[in-house]
Subunit: 189 residues, 2 copies
Amino acid sequence: MSTTTNDSTRNGVDTATLFATIDAVKAAPEAAKFQFRAHNEWVSGTHSRGTIHDFFGVGEERAHERSFTFDADHPAVLVGRDNGPTPVEFVLHALAACLTAGLANVAAARKVRLTSVKCTVAGDIDLNGILGLNPAVRNGYEQITVRFTVRGDASAETLRSIVEQSRARSAVYDIITAGVPVNVEVDAG
Amino acid sequence: MSTTTNDSTRNGVDTATLFATIDAVKAAPEAAKFQFRAHNEWVSGTHSRGTIHDFFGVGEERAHERSFTFDADHPAVLVGRDNGPTPVEFVLHALAACLTAGLANVAAARKVRLTSVKCTVAGDIDLNGILGLNPAVRNGYEQITVRFTVRGDASAETLRSIVEQSRARSAVYDIITAGVPVNVEVDAG
């Protein structure tokens, strides 16, 4: 990363483009309707392979510059072969990445230069739920804790307020804390 | 994959070990308390890098056989450099992988041999929410649709009931539909 930044690029964020994008959406709110997708194919046992490539946004079908492929599995202690992280770990990764991206954008908009952002996201889960052994135990995480370490050219109070604004505008934080209706359709022909 | 299966291994699932694990947890419910973790380090702009390695379970600290590393970013149309999927796409991948792993386990337990399982998970999101342009629009997905194509040596009705049981016991489905409390801590020293 460059040690000098002009007024438009800060923290690797092109704030001119960021603000232009916000203005464009203000003028045409329909442009902000996106559909993201993940495709998945079962391999064997708890091992599956996901592909992320195509999405819809700004009025048309689009695609990432390349396809991203991710294996998921269970570790041996959960009767898998450890070919990838567990699905519930990908959820934690998504939360960490969403809050971090937001933090960089918000800091850039507030003219704060970040030097380091790290976090660990930990989720506590009691597998008596998914194993069907205790109806009082839920299937998912009971709680999730995010621990950020943030450094930059602003006061601790300002840095904390940037994290707070990222949390308040995070898509993944909202998905995880507030819930989303999920419809499951099956072609079992 | 082998074309022959004995009574213990089906769909790549070692059902003897699966049932032994369930019996072990019945005898010692504390063994089922797990903590999963994702670590993340900001790279630049909306680009960050997540690492999944360590976790706690069955009474002790454990780790995957290797570290898994995943970049996340925004595509150019969302003012990023497309170094990885967006965080919200990882959420869809997690849901697909969780339902698919459960499907293989449930089918094995019910002595159904699967031949093919594919799905696409699609999430609709209106970015007027995270852009702060419309307070009536939420930050996260408005709805998620999972479309499974399942083939195996059982009736369509049986295959559908296996998907339904996987959904009813899915950790990620529960996380996404029912919500989880998330606590954010900040070291901004």
